[in-house]
């Protein structure tokens, strides 16, 4: 008898930050035999940045991702610090982290309300025509809907003040920042940061009320349909708390035990990337565990990054309201690490509150308006820059010649590291 095969192609994948398609192959019984998450494009930054002046690279690499341009700008600027053996003055670092916290809020809020969020707030089975940010505004009402829209606007404005542009900032220079903050700018940011802390708390209530109190959705989030026991990676500060801007890279195994903690500059000792012929995106894995294909578990080098991974590796968050939300999160699941993929969305809302509190804390630091924002530069050489991008740990690694021109570049990009897990999840 002739085998009846069906192929389902979902193209393009929508409401994500990038270009992909899903190819699903069904067997004769109509069940899924194989499914592939395919990334359909490459732009080649690692090649075309070669030959560029290294200090210009922070103005080029943000175009890797327009949803998280500050992550690339910051990783790139930190790589330039390292290339020139420069230590930015404390005020420059605080300015960077403050603006970067605002960026985290923008990106997380975009994810919460325009990208993944509609599946929860409007519902996974809703009419596709309403499963979007406009549908959310319709669901929560115009007043709250406008607050959602304005909150991200505040975060964008803070980034614009510091970076010139919210999307594709230009303020990062090797060893520092291009412009100090004025007192008026400081006041405007403080006002917006306070509103963002209030919004951060409201966003958690909204998640509780519209998602976790909906049994069907709560079951989906806590159930085993979207569940993978993997390693997790994220950046932690000296107190083992989540930090987006600087710290050490910590990896925990699927049981939550610390597997390794390393300096970002040593990333090549721990991370490798493989290539498959059916995707333009590479497949990173933990070198020490090895590549065992698209499978989870302790023997597979596949690891996850992004919000849930950060909460899973750290022992908490450094600000009070976010710490409380963090504790409630793990109480709810009753275990750590949490392996439920959809919990990334809840973790994102907790981190959004942390970013707001951190932003406010830094803008209230008396040093934030200091004019001392440029450090001394040494001779150019090699350097690694690393931050936690909204979607996970991000490494930029540059080699420059004596004139400071790029001779070689390597990037390990946040979402790339979730490529394997994403491929497993769609099956």
């Amino acid at each position: 008898m002739e085998e009846k095969k069906r192929i389902i192609t979902i193209s393009p994948i929508t409401r994500l930050e990038g270009h992909g398609k899903i190819s699903i192959f069904l067997n004769e019984k109509g069940n899924v035999k194989d499914a592939y998450f395919q990334v359909v494009e490459l732009r080649g930054f690692e090649r075309f940045c070669v030959g560029r002046p290294v200090e210009e690279v922070p103005r080029i690499t943000p175009r890797i991702c327009g949803v998280c341009p500050w992550a690339h700008h910051m990783a790139s600027t930190k790589a330039c610090d390292a290339v020139f053996k420069a230590e930015p003055p404390p005020a420059a670092k605080k300015l960077r982290e403050m603006a970067y916290s605002a960026h985290m809020m923008h990106s997380h809020q975009l994810h919460m309300y325009a990208l993944a969020g509609p599946d929860f707030y409007v519902g996974p089975k809703a009419d596709p025509a309403s499963r979007n940010i406009l549908g959310i505004v319709g669901k929560v009402g115009a007043e709250l809907g406008l607050e959602v829209i304005h909150a991200r606007g505040y975060a964008q404005r803070i980034q614009e003040i510091v970076g010139g542009k919210a999307t594709h900032p230009v303020c990062g220079l090797p060893g520092g920042m291009s412009k100090a903050l004025s007192d008026e700018e400081r006041d405007e940011i403080e006002d917006k940061a306070k509103k963002l802390v209030a919004f951060g708390k409201q966003a958690l209530s909204l998640w509780d009320d519209l998602v976790m109190k909906n049994k069907e959705l709560a079951d989906l989030i806590t159930g085993d349909t979207y569940y993978h026991e993997t390693y997790y990676m994220g950046m932690v500060d000296e107190n083992d708390k989540v930090n987006f801007y600087e710290g050490k890279i910590k990896v925990v195994d699927p049981e939550g035990k610390e597997y390794v903690r390393f300096e970002a500059k040593d990333y090549l000792d721990y991370i490798a990337e493989g290539v498959e012929p059916w995707s333009y995106l590479k497949f990173p894995y933990l070198k020490g565990v090895g590549w065992k294909g698209l499978v989870d578990g302790k023997d597979s080098g596949i690891y996850r990054v992004n919000s849930l991974a950060r909460l899973n590796v750290a022992s908490g968050l450094a600000t009070p309201a976010a710490q409380e939300a963090y504790e409630r999160f793990y109480d709810y699941f009753g275990k750590k690490p949490v392996h439920n993929t959809l919990a990334f969305n809840w973790a994102r809302i907790i981190e959004n509150l942390y970013a707001a509190e951190r932003c406010l804390e830094l803008i209230q630091d008396p040093e934030i308006t200091s004019k001392d924002i440029r450090g001394e530069l040494g001779e150019p050489g090699e350097g690694v820059g690393c931050v936690e991008a909204p979607r996970g740990t991000l490494f930029h690694h540059y080699w420059a010649d004596k004139d400071g021109m790029v001779t070689k570049m390597n990037l390990v990009v946040a979402t790339v590291q979730n490529n394997g897990p994403m491929c497993m999840s769609i099956k």
Partner: protein, 337 residues
């Protein structure tokens, strides 16, 4: 007045970063004005419509398509052609669609070189058999396909006929609101601006930059941005010796980079009269170096001065290499291994 029927609007992204889409959301509640007058029929970053939905539509059934991103692979070209056929008006939205943008810098290399770096030479890559992405491959008895990656990045108007341009990386909110105004007027009256209109200033960036320019400029040295530790916040950056492309670049962005002490890198593209951005920057430099004046520098001094402008190709054509007269760097087959 009778209620107007809503117009149909499509957004698309090709080789791009998504920043144009984020910028579109930055118009905040004005996006609600857009949905009052328009049904959005495609917007991959924000809505769940698929290519097959657009394929099923008749010719010219979309009123306006806002297309961002350069044309880097076969899928971008196919979708660009399909959307052109289905749309009455095609808008190149953002610098990548208009000029090639940052992804267009890849025209310094070709596919082979880019694949070699991405899938083989980068130190984190472990790929002893040099597997590369294939347009067609078989896995467990199933055929999987990918778009074909081309040697050369193209602009949208090198691919299909384009009616209007909204430059900027990304376009600033005020210019996006201007574009929304054009869409609203069309929805109301059916009227459109002349073909080829660029939604930006017709003057140069210097025209709107608040920094003060010296009456007479004569540069003795050109510095890289990180080499100047104390930047005067009120004085023209070029007068301070920092290479700023403002006078050769179209205005309309609000001088956002000079506002934070950083020089223009030309994301708005060349000014109205000029086709080739790099040529315009060169003539600008010639004029500020006093090459046209009487007391010009000696040849040796000029040579030294220009030699400190590292990477002229990647700086002068930062956003416009595909749309320039050069289009790309010529690479002889198999020369660079």
């Amino acid at each position: 007045m009778a209620k107007k029927e809503k117009i149909k609007l499509a957004f698309y992204w090709a080789a791009t970063c998504g920043g144009c889409d984020v910028a579109t959301l930055d118009i905040e509640e004005s996006i609600l004005d857009v949905v009052n007058i328009a049904d959005i029929v495609l917007w991959p970053v924000a809505m769940d419509f698929k290519y097959k939905d657009v394929e099923a539509m008749g010719p010219k059934s979309i009123d306006i398509c806002l297309f961002n991103g350069a044309v880097r692979n076969s899928e971008h070209e196919e979708i660009a052609k399909m959307l052109r056929e289905k749309s009455k008006v095609m808008v190149a939205f953002g610098s990548c669609a208009c000029f090639g943008g940052i992804p267009g810098l890849a025209n310094v290399a070709n596919r082979e070189q880019i694949f070699n770096v991405a899938y083989k030479e980068t130190p984190s890559t472990v790929n002893p058999e040099f597997v590369i992405p294939m347009t067609e491959c078989e896995v467990r008895g199933e055929k999987l396909t990918l778009p074909e990656f081309w040697d050369t990045v193209k602009t949208l108007d090198q691919t299909v006929d384009v009616d209007y341009y909204v430059p900027g990386c990304p376009p600033v909110v005020d210019r996006i609101k201007d574009a929304v105004g054009i869409i609203a007027k069309y929805a109301e009256t059916g009227e459109l601006p002349p073909k080829g209109t660029v939604v930006a200033s017709d003057k140069s960036l210097c025209d709107e930059c608040p920094r003060e320019r010296a009456e007479e400029r004569k540069l003795k040295w050109i510095y890289r941005p990180h080499e100047v530790k104390e930047v005067d916040p009120n004085k023209c950056l070029l007068d301070q010796g920092i290479l700023c492309m403002g006078s050769a670049t179209r205005g309309g962005c609000g001088a956002r980079c000079p506002n934070v002490n950083m020089p223009c890198r030309g994301c708005m593209g060349p000014t109205a009269e000029i086709k080739d951005h790099g040529a315009a920057v060169l003539s600008m430099i010639a004029s500020v170096l006093g090459l046209e004046g009487e007391e010009s520098l000696s040849d040796k001094e000029i040579e030294e001065l220009v030699s400190n402008i590292k990477d002229q190709l990647g700086t002068f054509y930062r956003f416009t290499l595909p749309s320039s007269l050069l289009k790309r760097v010529i690479i002889k087959a198999n020369r660079e291994k």
